[in-house]
């Protein structure tokens, strides 16, 4: 009887020891240490290009608040009508107004001008247009600037800097006198891409 009791007691003690060890598993863990770092918040920059008319100095954002592309009506110089064989000039200044933290150069490019006749006007075929990148708006009215110009141009604009596109619109000297007083619309799409 005594030996049976002793065996039972021994078994109970063993079970208690095993259960105890399993319960305090932490005692088997190896050393470890953790550290936390707050990386913070990353903020994306704005992509904003301003357009300024050469003559009137009217400024508009290239992208409107609703996300659509802006249209800027340019004034020409000299003002008034164009005589066949002569030219009129316009220009637009593009400003890279981004708040980017690092480098942010953009490339502005013009597409082929689209000359449309206004209602009832067959003037368009007699208009030619040249585009050239310049350093400043006052250069736009200089005919020499357009000697090697074509219908398209491009310019790179660094962060917080400006670029200029100058336009020369010429009326063919063989324009029939019957077209006097007619008008046409010239549209020049401008695209700006991040480099």
């Amino acid at each position: 009887m005594k030996s049976t009791r002793a065996l039972k007691a021994t078994g109970l003690v063993l079970i208690a020891v095993v259960l105890g060890l399993l319960t305090v598993q932490g005692s088997y863990a190896l050393w470890n240490k953790a550290a936390i770092a707050a990386a913070g918040t990353i903020q994306a920059a704005d992509f904003r290009i301003s357009l300024t008319d050469t003559i009137t100095s009217v400024v508009t954002d290239m992208t409107l608040a609703d996300g659509t592309a802006a249209t800027l009506s340019l004034s020409t110089t000299p003002a008034g009508v164009v005589i066949p064989g002569q030219s009129t000039y316009a220009g637009v200044e593009l400003g890279n107004e981004t708040n980017a933290g690092g480098l942010f150069t953009v490339r502005a490019s013009t597409s082929t001008p689209v000359v449309d006749n206004n209602a009832g006007s067959p003037l368009a075929p007699y208009l030619t247009l040249k585009v050239v990148a310049a350093n400043s708006l006052p250069q736009c009215s200089s005919a020499a600037l357009y000697e090697d110009a074509s219908e398209t141009a491009e310019t790179d604009i660094p962060k917080q800097d400006t670029g200029v596109f100058c336009f020369q619109v010429s009326l063919a000297d063989n324009m029939p006198a019957s077209l006097s007083g007619q008008s046409a619309t010239v549209a020049i799409p401008i695209t700006v891409n991040q480099l």
Binding site: L30, W31, N32, K33, A34, A35, I36, A37, A38, A39, G40, T41, I42, Q43, A44, A45, D46, F47, T63, G67, T98, N99, A100, G101, G102, L103, F104, Q194
Partner: protein
Amino acid sequence: MNKMAKGAIATGVGVILLVGGGGTLATWNQASNVSMGEVVSGDLNLEPGAGVWTNAAGTEIPVISQYKVVPGDALTYTQPLNVSLKGDLMAAKLTVALPDSYAQYAEYGTVSATTLTKAGSAEVLPEILKPANAGKVNASTTFTFNVDTPDRIGTNASADLGEISYKLEQQAPASTLQP
């Protein structure tokens, strides 16, 4: 008192007398104390320093929340860590856990795996660190703003990168892993 009792008493007295003689019963013996020396434990510790952001040009960014990131930019967060590892059989693994919130910025950018380098050098540390690898360590994670982000997608957006956790865990000495 019977004869048996008298005999037992006489025998007991005799034995006591013999015991009283002490050394006469003992074989040769000698005792001495041996010093086992001190057992000194090692150390494992991880102390973070002040993290630093740099942009794609390698320029340090003092305040990340005031920096405006653009497509193509790559912002690297470098976390200095002072790693202490002492022990003849010490080995530890340094792991980096990025918060789950990183997944929501996949539209705008990618987050690299974290690389561990010895401070002041480009030496990439092994997965399991030994005391020889201890000291100042840099853990670098790079957030790249997708260069092919079209139109004006993501302009003025912000991304809270939350908390990055670093954990240094001791690896059991090989001898204790043997069956």
